[in-house]
């Protein structure tokens, strides 16, 4: 679906990309990994026709970017790294404009805008001006703008960088659903995020592709195929030593040597979800009993 063949790009004397070749199969989600300045954004911008490679060829759904750039743009939904949109338009107006630009008839554009605002969780902010959206809300709006018109290819440049933990979870749930029917290519610095949602990866370092392919195959090739077990439970700290001895003995009994046991205190993530879940439970109880109360108030208590 996406194919880069020996792409090279120079910015002045700086060689940003050197013989970059990779392929993202149809209806899969591939992660694009690399350090800052490795060339991820350069390639994503090339894929939507914002930059022209000095050498090589890019094909999206069989269309060459060199000769059929406008057709390719119609096939791709793109979320820039720092999405910025018309601040004087409302979220709904902006999405209507996005919809009409990708060929949604004007009559259906409003419904399409409402549908995608709902998908990204911005239903309550349809009439708010984009200039008053937070960074996370702009990122959600950017995703809605990329999705509108139902393009078969999604190119997402760090799509969760401005989102809160809950927003990231929602985004990944959405991407897992979308990859059944779309080709998704997303860049991120966060390996855990990529592992959660992607079928494959492309790893770029200093403008050169270091690895690409399905995640399972790559890990298998590198000998990372054995499974590590992570068991999570809560235990009083004074029982730790006894539990470790019992656990090691039990594992040895079934012939599995224990290489390492790590004790981890419950961190911020656990605490955050605990508080948020408590807040939501309290809110739902309040709404049943007709009492008021804000999320902030509950968190403070």
């Amino acid at each position: 679906m996406i194919e880069c063949k020996t792409i090279s790009k120079k910015f002045g004397a700086f060689k940003a990309l050197s013989n970059v070749s990779f392929r993202v199969p149809s209806k899969t989600c591939y992660g694009f990994l690399g350090q800052n300045g490795a060339g991820k954004t350069t390639i994503l911008r090339m894929l939507v026709g914002l930059l022209r490679p000095d050498e090589g060829e890019i094909l999206v759904a069989g269309h060459s970017l060199r000769t059929e750039c406008e057709q390719v743009k119609g096939l791709c939904g793109y979320l820039p790294q720092r999405p910025e949109f018309y601040p004087w338009l409302s979220g709904q107006e902006f999405l209507r404009l996005s919809a009409e630009l990708v060929g949604v008839p004007a009559r259906q554009a409003k419904n399409a805008a409402d549908k995608y605002l709902s998908i990204v969780g911005l239903t309550d902010f349809t009439r708010r001006r984009v200039g008053k959206y937070s960074g996370g809300m702009q990122q959600r709006l950017g995703l809605a703008a990329a999705l509108i018109g139902d393009p078969p290819v999604l190119l997402l440049d760090e799509p969760v960088s401005a989102l809160d933990p809950q927003g990231r979870d929602e985004m990944f749930t959405l991407l897992k659903k979308l990859k059944q029917e779309k080709t998704i290519f997303l860049s991120s610095h966060i390996l855990h995020d990529i592992e959660q949602v992607c079928d494959g990866v492309v790893i770029i370092h200093k403008g050169k592709i270091r690895a690409h392919g399905s995640l399972a195959e790559l890990l298998k090739q590198s000998g990372e195929s054995s499974v590590g077990a992570q068991v999570q439970f809560e235990v009083d700290s004074h029982l730790m030593n006894r539990l470790q001895a019992e656990f090691s003995r039990a594992m040895q009994g079934i012939g599995i040597p224990v290489s390492k046991v790590t004790w981890q205190e419950q961190g911020l993530e656990h605490y955050y979800y605990k508080v948020v879940n408590q807040t939501e439970e309290a809110q739902s109880q309040n709404s049943v009993t007709g009492q008021g109360g804000s999320a902030d108030g509950n968190m403070a208590r």
Partner: protein, 255 residues
């Protein structure tokens, strides 16, 4: 095209871009006959002349007052046009270029929508301003031939059409709105000051002469046909608009 027209109209209203245009053109239109009528009083009260000095300024002719409005439009009016138009493309590319050019945008619709909305607001403002100016001229100085006034006013709108094409081209040429304003100002100064010296009676210089001739009802004294400045200005305008389309199509790739 309708999508872009609606977007441009919203932008014009919500960013209040129409305000300086309407304010400047209406103000200049009204002010010119009033100041010309009251000039002796103004000079008398403002200057420090000895007692008993008599200032005798003949009441200006109607056509002088009307062309005086055009003269004002050619100074403050042009500055207002540049102020409003310099960021229309340059500012937009800076702000939303990454999103905008990743979409299959029809560049000619994009340019024409910007041009049409800008010309509609600027043209209406100058027409209303000239109408008000003519009304005050009729009240304070003498009868106005309204047919002649609207002929001259429409010729001025054609001149504005040319100015707007210069400003939008400058805005498409560079990415900084202030630099675009500077480039537009330099081009307009060259066209307004240098062109009449070397090519009198032709193109936009001829058009301004034609407006003056229309107001004075003296008949076109140029050696070329009346339509020559009109046609060449129209052609120049079309050329400048046309240049923006390949320029933006090329620049979006290297954005």
């Amino acid at each position: 095209m309708a999508t872009w027209l609606a977007k441009e109209a919203k932008e014009m209203v919500r960013l209040r871009r129409w305000v300086p245009l309407v304010a400047v053109y209406l103000f200049l239109g009204m002010l010119q006959p009033i100041t010309m009528k009251l000039m002796p009083v103004i000079l008398d009260s403002a200057s420090n002349l000895p007692k008993g000095t008599v200032i005798h300024i003949p009441t200006p002719a109607v056509d002088q007052v009307l062309y005086g409005i055009i003269g004002q439009y050619n100074q403050l009016g042009i500055l207002a046009l540049i102020l409003v138009g310099m960021g229309m493309i340059a500012g937009e590319r800076k702000l939303v270029g990454e999103w905008l050019w990743s979409k299959p945008v029809n560049v000619s619709h994009y340019v024409l929508a910007k041009y049409s909305v800008f010309l509609l607001v600027a043209g209406s403002s100058s027409l209303i301003g000239l109408g008000l100016g003519a009304y005050y001229t009729a009240q304070l100085i003498g009868p106005v031939n309204w047919t002649v006034l609207w002929q001259g006013a429409l010729l001025y709108v054609l001149y504005q059409a040319f100015l707007i094409s210069v400003i939008l081209l400058a805005s498409a040429l560079v990415t900084s709105p202030s630099l675009a304003g500077g480039v537009a100002l330099i081009i307009i100064l060259l066209v307004n000051v240098l062109l009449p010296m070397v090519w009198q009676g032709h193109f936009v210089a001829g058009l301004l002469e034609l407006i003056q001739t229309t107001f004075s009802q003296t008949g076109w004294s140029g050696y070329m046909a009346v339509w020559e400045p009109i046609v060449t200005t129209l052609m120049g305008t079309a050329l400048l608009i046309g240049l923006q389309i390949p320029l933006l199509a090329w620049r979006r790739m290297s954005h």
